[in-house]
Amino acid sequence: MTAALVLAALLTVAAVVAVAFPFLREPEPATDVVGELDAFERRRLALAEERDRALAALQELEADHRARRISDEDYRSLVGPLRREAAQALQELDVERQDYPARS
């Protein structure tokens, strides 16, 4: 009984130390704010995602065509729009970069 209570008390103390650890480690931090993306950065992230998606789709299309999973006819009809999509995403991202105000 006593041993169990002592162990339970030790467990509770350990839990409190774990929870308090960030404050014990940094009693007076320079900054205590979690960095989050602002609206501009979210927009750029979405555009970068679209760009990566278009480039990955192009890469996969090439690989599928090489492996003869996709006929020449299908390849020709798909590759043009995909290239345009990738180019558009790259262009939009560039424009966004130019317009984006630098973080102070």
């Binding site: 009984m1 169990a4 209570l5 162990l7 339970a8 467990l11 509770t12 350990a14 839990a15 774990a18 929870v19 308090a20 650890f21 960030p22 404050f23 940094e26 931090p29 900054t31 205590d32 704010v33 979690v34 960095g35 989050e36 993306l37 950065e41 979210r42 750029r44 992230l45 979405a46 970068a48 995602e49 679209e50 990566d52 998606r53 990955a56 789709a57 996969e60 299309l61 690989a63 599928d64 090489r66 492996a67 003869r68 999973r69 996709i70 006929s71 006819e73 299908d74 009809s77 798909l78 729009p81 970069r97 130019q98 317009d99 984006y100 105000p101 630098a102 973080r103």
Partner: protein, 668 residues
């Protein structure tokens, strides 16, 4: 040590409540140290739960019958491995295991993603904290495994059907699956709360979903094998409500794993994916509710208990939170891209999704209807096997075919000529297989014949995919065939791991079709020396033997097996009488013929006083492919979920690039 167990669970409850409340406050005010503190609380809750679990396990091993739970589930004569597995043999212990797995998953998920997806983890912590609070409350305030009483000299023992090696693997595997679905749901809700509806939450949780989904699949197959060997009714899946409860979240998670690819490749179906992940999680809680509340009669369910309303409240909260957050973030979830053609890979994935969800909801209706009927009209209605078998054929056979079609169709759109060329090989192969099987007499079951023909199509499609991929790799890199094959899989583990899993599902379909559509059964009462015949086998009842085992009296009927004049040995089937538990179990006789790919399965239904025995004998063709499918499924899942460092780097680069100020170069 019961005090230590109780205290440890109280600590878990306190830590989880802290993670929920302080975590939510920290996330909404962006307070970094407070958020880290909440995250630490969630991680620490795993260790305090582990202490409680160790205390309970030790109580079983030490025969500490001062714990009511140990008294009701164990005895001194119970072999030690079963004492350990008796941990989750009842309500309170299985809830503690649930909590242990949940806190383990939560601790790992927030710890591993604390840098990769810091802004998501900010909100994931209180969501996981909330789920943990619910389960910690159940084991502290409602159904504690540490309730004590005056210790009796011995315990009541463990139910005989649970005294089986599968007891050590089947429930933990299922729990890893059920509980694992909490992680993708928490990340989905965290993404909605944080407004991060991009690809990040999907990448952060894909492997967690795969682990949970694979565990749930393996857990169900282990349970099926257990039922086949131990329960002794001649089958492996009975559409029991609790079996269905594990099947439903698995089907929803399967749909999610497919639809998530459409979001990654095309940026579509963002709403649908959040809906599916919520459906999978809520169904996993519903499944636990079915098992724990005693609301349904099932071999798996525990007795009537007071925790049913708590679970029901939890399900309502989970559904309400999911619906409210999806509705709130709907503008962010809208996709810019649309489906270009109904003949494309994404369309095939969508058909697959519709069929999987339709099958899932059909099973849900079959489970819910008797409960609703009894609650509203006071009449117990039974939804039987024909209902489920019918819908399994209606939705399952097209799903099987789609497994072959999907990989062969191009993304975006495919021309008719391209399709004809791609489908020609697998179609010819499938039709040839179908024709040969028809000639061999497989036409006695039309659904069985269709299942085999579709299976051949899928196998053909998978073989062509591997062949083309390996040939293309060889052409690019001049590698040897094995090296090209290995590098093909290594460079695209998800795709080829997925094909291996598809192959496992085909094996499963062949095994189920063979053992259910083409099986034979004979039954009859035999006196010593008498015989019965089934599918070319002659079984002669030789004699009855009785012997004492460590915890049961075993009665066995010895049966001589003969086929075409050849002696194939002796089978034993009978009963075990457990003295401590005052229960009797069926012990089957089984002979597997790997050359003929079939099982001879003997049940001694009734042993009569005059020494005669009533036998039921099955011949089940191809049933072992079901168990083989489990191994292949595990292999494919491991390939698919193996970490991909390139993907993590790509996401990190993209994120850093998005946050880079104008004029500066993106990070390498």
């Amino acid at each position: 040590m019961a005090e230590l167990g109780r205290a440890a669970l109280l600590v878990t409850l306190g830590l989880a409540a802290y993670a929920l409340l302080v975590g939510a406050y920290a996330a909404s005010t962006h307070r970094r140290r407070l958020a880290e503190s909440a995250r630490n609380a969630l991680v620490a809750s795993f260790f305090s739960t582990l202490v409680a679990a160790v205390v309970l396990a030790a109580a079983f091993v030490r025969d500490d019958f001062s714990l009511r739970y140990v008294t009701e589930r164990s005895s001194k004569a119970l072999p030690t491995p079963y004492k350990l597995s008796a941990f989750w043999g009842g309500q309170e212990g299985s809830l503690l295991l649930w909590l242990l797995v949940l806190t383990g998953y939560a601790a790992l998920a927030v710890w591993l993603n604390r840098r990769r997806a810091a802004d998501l983890v900010l909100w994931v912590t209180p969501v996981l904290g909330g789920i943990t609070v619910a389960f910690a409350w159940l084991v502290t305030g409602v159904a504690s495994p540490f309730a004590t009483h005056a210790a009796p000299p011995d315990g009541l023992g463990l139910t005989p059907s649970l005294q089986n090696p599968y007891m050590a693997t089947h429930p933990p595997a299922l729990y890893l699956g059920y509980v694992g679905l909490a992680v993708p749901w928490a990340f989905a809700m965290g993404a909605l709360l944080a407004g991060r509806t991009d690809e990040r939450w999907i990448v952060a949780t894909r492997r967690w979903t795969l682990v949970a989904w694979a565990s749930l699949g393996i857990g169900q197959l282990l349970g099926a094998h257990w039922a086949y060997l131990e329960v002794g009714w001649g089958g492996y899946f009975a559409w029991d409500p609790v079996e269905n409860a594990a099947l439903m979240p698995w089907l929803a998670a399967t749909a999610f794993l497919h639809s998530v690819m459409i979001q990654e490749k095309r940026g579509m179906l963002k709403v649908w994916n959040v809906v599916l992940v919520s459906l999978a999680f809520c169904l996993s809680i519903f499944g636990t509710f079915l098992t724990r509340s005693g609301i349904v009669n099932s071999i798996h369910s525990f007795t009537q208990s007071s925790i049913g309303p708590w679970f029901l409240a939890f399900i309502i909260v989970a559904v309400a939170v999911s619906v409210a957050l999806i509705a709130w973030r709907l503008p962010l979830l809208r996709s810019r891209t649309k489906l270009e053609s109904l003949v494309s890979r994404e369309a095939a994935f969508m058909y697959n999704n519709l069929l999987l969800v339709a099958l899932c909801l059909t099973v849900l209706w079959g489970v819910a209807w008797p409960i609703l009927s009894e609650a509203v009209r006071g009449e117990a209605v039974v939804v039987g096997r024909p209902y489920y078998d019918f819908f399994l054929r209606v939705f399952g056979l097209p799903l099987l075919l789609l497994m072959g079609i999907g990989p062969l169709v191009a993304w975006r759109r495919a021309s008719l000529r391209g399709l004809l060329r791609t489908f020609l090989g697998p179609s010819v192969f499938a039709l040839m297989v179908g024709a040969v099987l028809l000639a061999l007499g497989a036409g006695s079951s039309i659904p069985g014949l269709i299942a085999y023909t579709f299976s051949a199509f899928v196998i053909g499609a998978i073989a062509i995919e591997f062949w083309r991929g390996t040939t293309a790799r060889r052409a690019l890199s001049s590698e040897s065939w094995p090296a090209a094959f290995a590098s093909l899989i290594g460079r695209n583990r998800r795709r080829y791991g997925g094909y291996v899993v598809h192959f496992a599902i085909v094996l499963l379909a062949i095994g189920i079709a063979g053992s259910s559509a083409y099986d034979s059964v004979v039954e009859g009462r035999l006196a010593k020396g008498e015989s019965l015949e089934v599918s070319g086998y002659t079984l002669t009842y030789a004699r009855l033997v009785e012997r004492e085992a460590s915890n049961a009296t075993e009665v066995r009927a010895k049966v001589l097996v003969n086929r075409g004049g050849a002696d194939l040995g002796t089978l034993e089937a009978g009963k075990n009488a457990y003295s401590v538990e005052q229960q009797v179990s069926n012990e089957i006789g089984l002979r597997t013929d790997y050359l003929r790919a079939e099982d001879l399965f003997v049940i001694a239904e009734q042993v009569n006083d005059d020494g005669s025995v009533y036998f039921r004998v099955f011949v089940k063709p191809l049933v072992n492919l079901i168990w083989l499918a489990g191994l292949v499924f595990l292999g494919g899942s491991l390939i698919a979920l193996w970490p991909d460092a390139r993907e993590q780097r790509r996401l990190a680069t993209r994120f850093a690039e998005a946050a880079t100020p104008a004029g500066s170069a993106p990070p390498p």
